[in-house]
């Protein structure tokens, strides 16, 4: 029988790279990503599961990484906002569309918006406006409003 323990050795694949670390059971996945792996693109906004700034993909599904324990990600494949661009000097079509539509102002919510939108586009390459709005329901933006964000998502699909 597996015994309960205060920490655990985990292996996770993040953006194609495998990391092995010893982590405390109480460590939230978002802190593991930001502080242990130094991938600070994933943001902590509210820390209560409401804002969606910490959204990542866990085995292909959008999840809020502040509501998952790091030990729970053992054996999983993660994708963070750093994994979207094909190279250091090139943005993904979705990221280009966010730029073209001015879909961000302060940018704090943007990593989460991009991860929710990219999860949508992977399942549904040509979303309607309604579908785009539903997909980012769990992501809060406090500066631009959502019009340009929704336009950026829908037009990425339309030009795919």
């Amino acid at each position: 029988m597996s015994q309960p323990s205060l920490s655990r050795s985990i292996a996770v694949e993040v953006n194609g790279e495998v990391y092995e670390r010893e982590v405390d059971a109480r460590r939230l996945l978002v802190h593991f990503i930001r502080d242990d792996l130094d991938l600070t693109g994933t943001h902590v906004g509210c820390d209560t599961g409401n804002c969606g700034a910490c959204t990542i993909h866990l085995d292909g599904q959008a999840v809020k990484s502040c509501m998952v324990l790091a030990v729970q990600a053992d054996g999983s494949k993660l994708r963070t906002v750093e994994g979207l661009a094909p190279s250091d000097d090139q943005l993904s079509p979705l990221q280009q569309s966010f730029s073209a539509h001015h879909a961000l102002q302060c940018g704090y919510c943007t990593p989460g918006m991009l991860m929710s939108a990219s999860a949508l586009l992977e399942q549904n390459p040509r979303p309607t406006e309604e579908e785009a709005r539903k997909a980012i329901q769990g992501n809060i933006c406090r500066c631009t409003g959502y019009v340009n964000i929704v336009e950026a998502i829908v037009s990425t699909g339309a030009s795919a």
Partner: protein
């Protein structure tokens, strides 16, 4: 946020999970974590040991056998929404699952977690009472089945005792069932301020109110017309809580509104 120190185990079988829950004082099952992790942040819950159920694929299964739709306790809302078994045997479950929170929460949150947390504002407790569901619970002494209207015991309290685990929820299969659900929420698909579920059969209605008491309130109105529903809600002498979102009086009013809307939706579905 830094959680209080906690131990963690990830069992690979249901029996092992039950042994871990029974053997460790202060142990708690971790399902999707979309409630539990947040209440741990707030220190509103401080389990000493988390028994993570996420490796137990047998608890994720959704199947139909004969007249019964069986949903594993670890079936996520997303899985329920996409399930062809749910679609052909009790589609209201997928419709209501789609109204819970947001995509990210639906990807992790589970039916078992929703009902075992038994927050009075949750969607599924009143719905499952209306549908006449039953819950299968296993402990060291074996399995038992509890009817939904006996499962919910109080705020955050259910029939699942210490050292026990909810395995599955069974719902009578009825593709064309006259079921309805209505809610008033904080923002679209947000937390319910008031909600009601209804299921009609043979001219009788089962109407269940959420958000107004510690447990779902089952009403059996004399008829399915609006007047009968309103009378049944009034006769229940509800004493709902007051909070920043609604006074007790307003929430009582909304309970009646939701009950009527749920029955109207059920009536339309049953035609």
């Amino acid at each position: 946020m830094l959680l209080r120190e906690v131990e963690y185990a990830r069992p690979s079988s249901v029996d092992e999970a039950i042994r871990l829950l029974a053997a460790n004082e202060g142990a708690r099952a971790l399902a999707g974590g979309q409630t539990l992790v947040n209440v741990m942040k707030a220190r509103a819950a401080s389990p000493d040991v988390l028994v993570d159920l996420n490796s137990l694929d047998e608890l994720r299964e959704i199947s139909v056998s004969g007249e019964t739709l069986q949903l594993g306790a670890m079936a996520t809302y997303t899985r329920i929404m996409a399930s062809s078994e749910v679609d052909v045997s009790r589609p209201i479950l997928a419709e209501v699952a789609a109204q819970i929170a947001d995509v990210q929460v639906r990807n992790r949150g589970t039916i078992g977690g929703n009902i075992c947390s038994n927050d009075p504002t949750n969607h599924l407790p009143p719905l499952l009472v209306a549908l006449g569901a039953s819950m299968t619970i296993r402990g060291a002494d074996g399995e038992r089945t509890v009817a939904a209207n006996e499962f919910f015991l109080g705020v955050y309290m259910t029939a699942v005792g210490e050292g026990e685990l909810l395995l599955s929820v069974s719902v009578p299969a009825a593709a064309n069932a006259a079921d309805g659900f209505a809610s008033v929420t904080i923002g679209r698909d947000g937390t319910c301020i008031a909600n009601a579920a209804a299921s009609l059969a043979g001219g009788a209605a089962r109407v269940v109110l959420g958000c107004v008491d510690a447990v779902p309130i089952l009403l059996e109105p004399a008829g399915t017309d609006e007047e009968s529903i309103r009378q049944a809600v009034a006769a229940a002498s509800l004493e709902p809580p007051s909070d920043v979102h609604a006074s007790a009086e307003y929430r009582r009013h909304l309970a009646g509104v939701c009950a009527v809307r749920a029955v109207q939706q059920a009536t339309e579905r049953g035609r």
